[in-house]
Amino acid sequence: MGESLVLNLLLWLPVVGTVLLLVIRGNASLARVITLGVMMLQLIMAVWLYARFDAGVTGLQFATSLPWIPQWGVSYLIGLDGFNILLVALTAFLGPLVVLGAHRSIEKDVTLFHAMVLLLQFAMMGAFVAQDLFLFYLFWEAMLIPMFLIIGIWGGSRRIYATVKFFLYTAFGSILMLAALIYLVQSLAQTGGITSFAFADLYRARLPLPAQTILLGAFALSFAIKVPMVPLHTWLPDAHVEAPTAGSVILAGVLLKMGTYGFMKLGFPLFPDAARLFTPALMTLAVISIVYGACLALVQTDIKKIIAYSSISHLGYVMLGLLSLELVGIQGAIIQMVSHGLVAAGLFLLVGMIYERCHTRELSDYGGLARLLPVFSVFFMIFTLASVGLPTTSGFTGEFLALLGAFTAAWPLHVAGQSYPLILSIVAVLGVILGALYMLRFALTFLFGAVNAPHQPLSDLSLRERGILGALVIVIFALGLFPDSVMAKTENAARAYRGLVTTSRLPEQLNSGPELVP
């Protein structure tokens, strides 16, 4: 019981922090200290939970279940399992870095800004730990508001356009999801005899294929917008470009993982038959995302857009791994999620740091930074290479396993005469080349050649900045070199996911149809 209290504390601490901030209404530095304190506490608790998390147990750990709206079957049900443990850890890990990294770029309404960051942290954490669809949906929607405000208030010059676009896309997806989840619970109540929003109960819902298809369509649209998958991605570059550094870091680091997490935890397991029906289509979209994102990253002139499009490409690998339904691929997808969170966060932090110094995001305004800012360049190179997926970094672990999974799943189909998945996975492997191409083009113009940067002389990274990036680098290498202990924690979840998606859950009477014929 005591242990589940820690998870609750972890979840609600940011709310306490927000209230404190709004009540005290102190000066900016006090707000920063409070926020940082909350984030650090959260991180400590997350580390503790991670360490205590028993990899051998299937199902929820540190669970809390309280009835909330019993007549609707809604309960306050939270807990950790292999699906979310890494993402919770990631969210908690990035929290302090965001607060520290946003140190200088925010000037107006500092208290409000930190309150928003805390609320966002709360909502994201909630969406990850929620084990009840109603609760999940609440958190899912709640995430939008602080993010909307962070971009809209502290963003760049075209922030209004970006926020509206961001909001329209995500809200559009959410509304469809709401309709779908009401239908889902309704039909569970009719056929299964229980009214419940708990994931565990919903995993038992049996639905005919047409219903599954429509519902998965609604869920998938909502999640695919969040991932984002081509062609639903155009909100992302705009949102990233306009968001302040902290916003970009959270957006790339955690928020995008919501989409893939949603697919893994809800979309596919809830509607397994439709999921398998959709697999070729979604796989195609995933591969298109990989290639399309990479191609567009190649021709961007805004450094934030390069990273934004690279995110689209990297999350394509996650989808590919999830869709492979091979343990290797699923594990790769989970690692790739975390890895992308770390790498993209690092790159956005670096871009934020250089932006604070030079006040431009135009790639052609830079050159030869390796001469001017050696430490910055070392870090930039490391993150670039991790993004490229060089072995020994986390990017390699994720991409390699995801691709291996996709290939392993596609080969038998090819042997059986169905070559389409194999072609897709080969194209995805070729995407690795494009990844090197756009990131190295970025590094080439940015770091090398004749020295060129506005507002010289520039000061190299401060100790604070080195600390932030150093922490990320350590985790990136740890995931690249020693992923075993991490993957052990998610192994059960990967198995559970595969089990859920590969077992048919059409209604029984339909299943036994042919047997009725004498």
């Binding site: 567009l296 021709v299 390796a370 050696p374 072995p391 390699f400 070199l481």
Partner: protein, 636 residues
């Protein structure tokens, strides 16, 4: 002999320690005298220590009657039934490769202390070199393809960093990027091959895979060996600069000369050869892939040699010569003579390192001049460099008694007579290439060291012999180039990778071919002597006679331009004009903006009603009430 529990791991990890220490010092204390000395001590001490450990490991191997040493380090990942183990594997093949890497590596590190002496990024240079050694040793010592791949990509990274070492010039950094991306293309093929093998064998341990392919008919994996072989060969073409991916290697000469010697001549570029030999179990069952390999190899050898004929940059000549020699190695691999290929790898490492370092010494002496048209007459000015260069040139040209003669002659022999795809025409092209090799190498020698001086006076005044740290290394490598052929590596490896049998009816040609190849080597020498030893008008006449051909060769067959037009530019064009402008901006954002403006317009229409006039509103209320009354009266 001492047997340590983690001897192999120590060989690999020592350079990593060197990299970290030097890297931290280079960034923290960059350029100070103290850190330079420390960088030299760590930078050179570590490869030497690794070399000593390798010798020790070899002795252990010998004592154990050449049973491969397997040393697991840790488990990288366990997923379901599949485990990915990080383990090192030490057998005759890895022993030779490790000795070459650490041995040649050590001397090149020593050479660098002299060559890079005045560079402001001295510590960084040694950090990168150590990083390279780390990944290269990982590559040759890994048991699993995964470890090999880590090393494979890692040496690519080190090569990228070192080619762009003087990154102030964007062209250098650009060459590094080109190398990395070209290698990545090959790596994609490697990855696919690896996936296929994993799918077929359920493991990535190379000894297990080989055993599975070599095993009895029942246990041979259900996958086409030729497909795997071709995919892995694509990887090898990237790393070992074969057609069609050779374009990066000549550009890679932008890096410091020791780097060219170590990475782009002696060790990294031979990784592809090592890979094929290591996977020989697969290739023995892949005649198609082997044939492709032989043809690609001989074609690369030929075309690179023709380009080398007209190059005027001392390092570019050597670069194309490297590509050409690598082609020879792949020819050997293609006809199944794996041991011979490794033999050539070793001798090539000696003489090509000697040549590159000699070239480095020349460049050092001339203060950075690389154009051989502006050299000449250096023989007496830098005698040690000259004599070592002569020996290495003779070795690569195939003058009998020197290292290159033995290995090249064996390659030619197997190309002719191997029962695994050897054929007279392969031999014919290779022999012609050998002739060209002798010619362009002696041309290089002549233009650089002999004849009258063509140096600029300012340069000529400062010509000086290099310090002992450089000349000592040159002498050592020259000795190795001379005697390196007397240790028969194919024989040493025979128990592990047997040589192919000889087609019976071609057996009696052996002596004839030997004589022909000796004649060819001397013919090349004579030709060069006639052309460049006499008056300057003579080469000019020849040049005029074959002008169009010469132009084509000078332009390197326009391959770079071709790739640029066919691949690079279309990719960027499509991304920019189709995907970004049309796809993202017009179609996707267009749809969004269309919907948004539709909503705005509709809202505007309905907004007209909202006049703000209370009377109008109450009129609506009245109309509503009347309407409701009428409706209820009708339906009541």
């Amino acid at each position: 002999m001492i047997s340590m529990p983690h001897a192999l791991a120590a060989i690999v990890l020592l350079p990593l320690v060197g990299f970290l220490v030097n890297g931290v010092f280079a960034t923290a204390l960059g350029g100070r005298r103290f850190s330079n000395r420390l960088a030299s001590i760590i930078g050179c001490g570590i490869p030497i220590a690794a070399f000593a450990l390798t010798v020790n490991a070899l002795l252990t191997l010998q004592a154990g009657n050449y049973t491969p040493l397997i040393e697991p380090l840790y488990r990288w990942a366990t997923i379901g039934d599949s485990t990915f183990e990080i383990a090192f594997y030490f057998d005759r093949l890895s022993a030779i490769m490790t000795l070459v890497v650490t041995g040649v590596g050590s001397v090149i590190h020593l050479y660098s202390t002299g060559y890079m002496h005045d560079d402001k990024s001295y510590g960084r240079f040694f950090a990168y070199l150590n990083l390279f050694l780390f990944f290269m040793l990982l590559l040759v010592l890994g048991r699993s393809m995964l470890v090999l791949f880590v090393g494979w990509e890692g040496v690519g990274l080190a090569s990228y960093l070192l080619i762009g070492f003087w990154f102030d010039d964007l062209a250098n950094a650009g060459a590094g990027k080109k190398a990395f991306v070209t290698n990545r293309i090959g790596d994609a093929g490697f990855l696919l091959g690896m996936f296929l093998l994993y799918r077929a064998c359920g493991t990535l341990d190379m000894d297990t895979i080989n055993a599975a392919f070599m095993g009895s008919a029942g246990s041979v994996p259900v996958v086409s060996a030729s497909l795997v072989g071709l995919l892995l060969f694509i990887g090898a073409t990237g790393k070992s600069a074969q057609i069609p991916l050779f374009v990066w290697l000549p550009d890679a000469m932008a890096g410091p000369t020791p780097v060219s010697a170590l990475i782009h001549a002696a060790t990294m570029v031979t990784a592809g050869v090592y890979l094929v030999v290591r996977m020989s179990g697969v290739y023995m069952h892949a005649p198609d892939a082997s044939q492709v390999m032989a043809i690609t190899g001989v074609a690369t050898a030929f075309f690179a040699a023709t380009i080398a004929l007209v190059q005027t940059d001392i390092k570019k000549v050597l670069a194309y010569s490297t590509v050409s020699q690598l082609g020879f190695m792949f020819l050997a691999l293609g006809v199944g003579a794996y041991g011979v290929a490794i033999f050539h790898v070793v001798t090539h490492a000696f003489f090509k390192a000697c040549l590159f370092l000699g070239a480095g010494s020349v460049i050092h002496a001339l203060g950075g001049e690389q154009d051989i048209r502006k050299m000449g007459g250096l023989r007496t000015r830098i005698p040690i460099t000259f004599w070592t260069f002569v020996i290495a040139t003779a070795a690569i040209a195939g003058i009998p008694g020197l290292a290159g003669f033995f290995s090249k002659d064996e390659i030619l022999w197997y190309a002719f007579a191997s029962s695994r795809g050897g054929s007279p025409w392969l031999w014919g092209v290779a022999a012609l290439t050998a002739l060209m090799t002798a010619f362009y190498m002696f041309r290089l020698l002549w233009l650089t060291f002999l004849g009258p001086s063509r140096m600029e006076p300012a340069v000529e005044k400062h010509v000086h012999e290099s310090p002992f740290s450089m000349t000592g290394v040159l002498l050592l490598l020259a000795v190795l180039s001379a005697v390196g052929g007397y240790f028969s590596i194919p024989h040493f490896l025979e128990s592990q990778v047997p040589l192919p049998s000889i087609v019976v009816e071609r057996e009696h040609y052996e002596r004839t071919l030997l004589i022909v190849s000796v004649v060819l080597a001397f013919a090349g020498l004579a030709l060069a002597a006639v052309m460049f030893g006499g008056p300057a008008a003579r080469p000019e006449r020849v040049r005029q006679a074959v002008l169009p051909l010469r132009r084509l060769l000078s332009a390197k067959y326009h391959v770079d331009e071709l790739y640029d037009r066919l691949l690079a530019r279309p990719l960027v064009w499509v991304s920019e004009h189709v995907l970004l402008r049309v796809g993202d901006r017009v179609v996707l954002d267009g749809i969004l903006h269309g919907v948004a403006s539709l909503a705005t317009r509709a809202a505007g229409l309905f907004g007209r009603v909202q006049t703000g006039s209370l009377h109008l509103y109450s009129l609506f209320v009245m109309a509503g009430i009347v309407g409701a009354l009428v409706w209820s009266w009708r339906h009541g």
